[in-house]
Point group: C2
Chain length 418, copies 2
């Protein structure tokens, strides 16, 4: 059997299983997820044995300690996987919700009702805990899921998949609703991405290279998360103590994540007072600040920001700072260099706050709050399957609802079209 | 300048114009559309002159009379284009709507607000009226639009585009918010489909060949409308007079459209009475009925249906009929041969009606009403940009709302993440 045939069979089995999963009542799905959580903890020993094979292979290849750390299925990681499944079990079920119903003049009633997407493919790198997290979200939203993790976590992903599939099997549910792709054939993904009849959505989770590869090869719709070049704009009228607190939190609390601050824009009237203040605070926090010419006139100790800095997603303790004439200049900077992820204004001017909300069309737009809240859990979605920085289907952090679509339902009593 | 550079410039201008269009108040957009309607009627003479060139070229190429008919900009067609723009002007503006707002424990308020998609590309065949219809829907929803019509309507599309752009210009709005692509270079579309940074969505409107071409070449998300293989299932318990009326309306009222009935499924207990009745009615209406073996045992005069008939989108006065054991068999037939477009049940059994609504996940699912209502206008969306038969972003008839997405808005008073 060729890899193309193998992928077609696998995806066809997922499609068939998805029909049953789509109709499962919430109670059955929630019980399933809670039982999966238990099963992961009960199988800690065999999961760690499998994980040890990946860790040994990683060490043999001189994998960096940080990478090895992310690869390890410690008791703590297993517990957090189990907790995650239980949290998703406790969330409201989006499937079946009728989001609107109206009466037409001819007497038919028309509504829109949430249904699962069908089959979701998730292609990810590194952390094996994604296998359990993504499986929980996809099954809870009534979808079948095909998971393809990185080769460095092959044994761990396979073992987690077996535990979860065993739970499906115990409950008399189709095991093919959850498939973990563990072939070493590098063409497996390329073949999978052609199966637009069998798979409804692909979510790549990983670096920009992975996302571009998937996007260019896929005939299936892809939800893309490129970069997080997040901006904060400190307005002329702002509480500078609040601005300092917010900017520090955005840059320093966890600099390696996509919702961290990368470029600070400061109104020219705020700059003389606020720039020296924030430069001092950032320096104390160990942040290298790179400024435009105007910023460096006010704070000569700043490093020089070049054009490349405005595009940079540092993911590190580095911050670019630019002084701008006004809101329009800030908006134009964001629209030119931004990544549509998260933008924040710090202002005490009501009209300006409304203008920022109206005219900045990134996926998350904030007033007087830290960009670090741009996350499914923090925003109240319960859990997050990813963040979309493109606008189709979903824009911004994606929760359970984003793994569904809506069909029209029509209730008549014999109406025909004249 | 190469065609790739030309397309990049054009799309970049559209992207820039889209930023302003996104912020226009509803009143300005509605006035613009009403003025466009007037301008089309005032320019009837030059539009017809341009159209005459396309008609002459079509006749010289021995174009079929039906095609020539669709190409013609008659007074009636111009009037309906103007009426269409005025109807869209009268619809509610989806942009800015806040679809939910909630409070988080830390005091931040989180909401989701509708925003335009940005730049929409529409690639269509034949009818030049699409130029005005699509422009109206895209502009009303705050988007810039790039239109590429068929080569047979080149002069007509260009002339309509000029009238509409003139109206934008008169109002001091950016003409690049509406661009009609009239280059004869066949690579123009292929190049356009690469511009994922500049264009947010591509909607192909035309035959399956066009849609597959666009889908395979596009790096931009595509909303696809493949086939309409619509099914009606007549349950064991049904009002057969109603079933006959609905099936006839679905098959005969306008057989050449995607929401016409193609396959009739009849419960085995209904078949002995209903099949002879519907076969007679269809024959009287000039419909060729092709039946399965069981159907032909009951009505021996039926033609023979083969496997290919179950997949067929006839778009003609032909109907495939199959007798099924029960609901499960009907459901399995629909999931195997259907196109996710529209399915109908005729039943007087409440539980069965609910089961059909729950278990059939096509884009439109109906109880006791004609499939011919599966249309944006009929369902109450006001107007329709197309129908999606794939599940991402939009599923089923698409109205103004489907030309928008949602961003998150966050209102804080200084909150940071601990």
């Amino acid at each position: 059997m060729t890899i193309a045939q193998e992928m077609l069979q696998l995806a066809t089995r997922a499609r068939e299983a998805s029909r049953l999963v789509a109709t499962l009542p919430s109670g059955i799905k929630n019980d399933l997820l809670r039982r999966m959580a238990e099963a992961l903890l009960e199988n800690a020993a065999p999961l760690k044995t499998a994980n040890a094979l990946d860790l040994a292979a990683g060490r043999a290849k001189a994998m960096a300690p940080a990478m090895l750390d992310r690869l390890e299925l410690s008791d703590q990681v297993l517990q957090s996987m189990a907790d995650g499944l239980r949290e998703v079990a406790a969330l409201p079920d989006p499937v079946g919700e009728i989001t609107g119903m109206w009466l037409r003049p001819n007497g038919i009633r028309v509504g829109r009702q949430r249904i699962p997407l069908g089959v979701i493919g998730i292609i990810f790198e590194s952390r094996p805990n994604v296998t359990a997290d993504a499986a929980g979200l996809c099954l809870k939203s009534g979808n079948a899921v095909i998971l393809r993790g990185g080769s460095e976590a092959l044994h761990s992903n396979r073992a987690i998949g077996e535990v979860l599939r065993q739970t499906l099997s115990e409950r008399g549910l189709p095991v093919d609703a959850l498939q973990v792709l563990t072939t070493s054939d590098r063409n497996a993904v390329t073949e999978l991405l052609k199966l637009e009849e069998q798979i409804d959505l692909i979510i790549p989770r990983g670096g920009e290279g992975l996302i571009r590869f998937v996007s260019e090869h896929s005939r299936i719709p892809v939800i893309k998360h490129y970069k997080g070049v997040c901006h904060t704009y400190v307005d002329a009228q702002a509480d500078f103590a609040m601005a300092e607190r917010i900017c520090l939190n955005e840059k320093v609390q966890r600099p390696g994540v996509c919702n961290a601050l990368e470029t600070l824009l400061v109104h020219q009237d705020a700059a003389p007072q606020f720039l020296p203040q924030i430069a001092r605070a950032m320096a104390q926090a160990g942040v290298e600040v790179r400024g435009c010419d105007r910023a460096r006139q006010l704070v000569p100790t700043l490093a020089v920001a070049t054009e490349a800095d405005w595009y940079a997603e540092y993911l590190d303790l580095i911050l670019a700072v630019r002084v701008v004439d006004d809101f329009e200049a800030a908006r134009d900077h964001i629209s030119r260099y931004g990544s549509l992820h998260t933008e924040t204004i710090v202002t005490s001017d009501y009209a300006m706050s409304q203008r920022f909300l109206r005219e900045i069309n990134s996926s998350v737009v904030m007033v007087n709050a830290s960009s670090r809240f741009s996350d499914g859990g923090q925003l109240g979605l319960g859990a997050e399957i990813g963040i979309s920085t493109t606008k189709l289907h979903s824009f911004g952090p994606m929760g359970l609802e984003d793994l569904t679509t809506r069909k029209f339902i029509v209730l008549g009593d014999g109406q025909i079209r004249e």
